[in-house]
């Protein structure tokens, strides 16, 4: 029972704090799943994130569904998804009228604005940890090659992330 309560909390907190959609909740989920409850190592979490990013659909529910399943089976997946989705959806349905009234209030706009730097820092720290972990695992040169190549492919040449991940898998399968 305790386990399901923890799964609920682990996805409820990112769900109500993540301003900026699912991607904003990635570092918050990581904070709960890796640091607080230690269900996964950074490495395992990165696998979930890599696969999650190469599949279509909302990222927050993919993480909640899979991690919930990993920790507590099908019921765990259901609890995780519910905790990620329900609170914000219920607020949305209940408060839409009220929100419409205050939509141009500077207070409402500031809510999203003020949270952004926190999310940015959390994401930045996480990115740094991924690079550092890679440096420790496969060394500076391999890390640099893959980093630069994937940056150029995704951001300059607009190659679809799924293909970049697939390319990295092939590269790693043969050369690492």
């Amino acid at each position: 029972m305790m386990k399901y309560w923890e799964i609920f909390l682990a996805f409820f907190i990112p769900g109500i704090l993540g301003y900026g959609g699912g991607p904003a909740s990635i570092p918050l989920v990581e904070n709960e799943v890796v640091k607080r409850y230690e269900w996964m190592t950074v490495q395992e979490f990165s696998e979930v994130l890599a696969l999650g990013n190469s599949l279509p659909g909302p990222i927050a529910t993919k993480m909640a569904g899979y991690i919930g399943y990993d920790v507590g089976g099908i019921l765990g997946a259901a609890v995780g998804v519910f905790a990620a989705v329900a609170p914000s959806l219920i607020i949305m349905i209940l408060l839409l009228g009220l929100l419409t009234k205050y939509k141009n209030s500077s207070k409402v706009k500031r809510l999203t604005l003020y949270v952004r730097p926190v999310i940015a820092i959390l994401l930045g720290v996480m990115a740094w940890r991924f690079f550092f972990e890679s440096y420790e695992g496969i060394g500076l040169w391999q890390t640099a090659i893959i980093t630069i190549a994937s940056y150029l492919l995704m951001e300059r040449f607009k190659v679809h992330p799924a293909f970049v991940i697939a390319g990295a898998l092939v590269y790693g399968g043969f050369l690492l």
Binding site: P23, L89, M92, L123, P161, A168
Partner: protein
């Protein structure tokens, strides 16, 4: 019945075709809801999107849930949320479970190792997008100062991000309007 089927198909397509997480699927939702099924007009959708963005949580399920609710009540909502996320969660579970059963092979470990920097790049790009929005929204100086303070609180004092976000939300709500003071430090 036909309505429920339409809701299911509309959001199933959104879930299966939307890359880049929820925010990446917004144009697809627009296409289904406004262009194909005429459940709302473009202006209404724009308003809905703006409001959804002022609330926390995943954007795709907020939109699909609300639209499903509007079109056909509670079951429309359940149907829409389910259709948006179920297919990809199943894919995730199947792929990751099969991955972990072959994890011991060297070549699999090589594959996993090569993906880590790619995810690092994706996160770095996301970081930049959030910083850029923050900088354009409230100025680079304030973003920089806030970023620095938040970094110290999070990394050096290891305060839970929830507490910091909570404090910032309170500041956002209680700060007087029209004041241009450069506060913003969570106290």
């Amino acid at each position: 019945m036909q309505t429920q089927w339409n809701i299911f198909i509309a959001f199933f397509r959104v879930g299966i075709l939307g890359y880049g997480g929820g925010p990446g699927s917004i144009p697809l939702i627009h296409k289904e809801v406004v262009d194909k099924y005429n459940w709302m007009d473009a202006e209404e959708f724009g308003d809905l999107l703006a409001l959804a963005n002022t609330l926390p949580g995943p954007i795709a399920t907020k939109l699909s849930g609300y639209i499903g609710y509007r079109v056909s009540g509670f079951w429309g909502m359940m149907n829409a949320v389910f259709a948006t996320m179920f297919p990809t969660i199943i894919l995730m579970i199947v792929l990751l479970t099969s991955l972990s059963s072959i994890k011991e092979f060297d070549w699999v470990q090589g594959m996993v190792a090569a993906v880590i920097p790619v995810v690092g790049v994706m996160l770095a790009v996301l970081t930049w997008q959030f910083l850029d929005k923050a900088g354009k929204g409230m100025g680079w100086l304030q973003t920089g100062i806030m970023g620095l303070i938040i970094f110290v609180l999070l990394q050096l004092l290891t305060i839970h991000p929830g507490i910091i976000i909570g404090a910032l939300l309170l500041i956002a709500l209680f700060k007087k309007d029209k004041s241009t003071a450069k506060e913003g430090e969570p106290s």
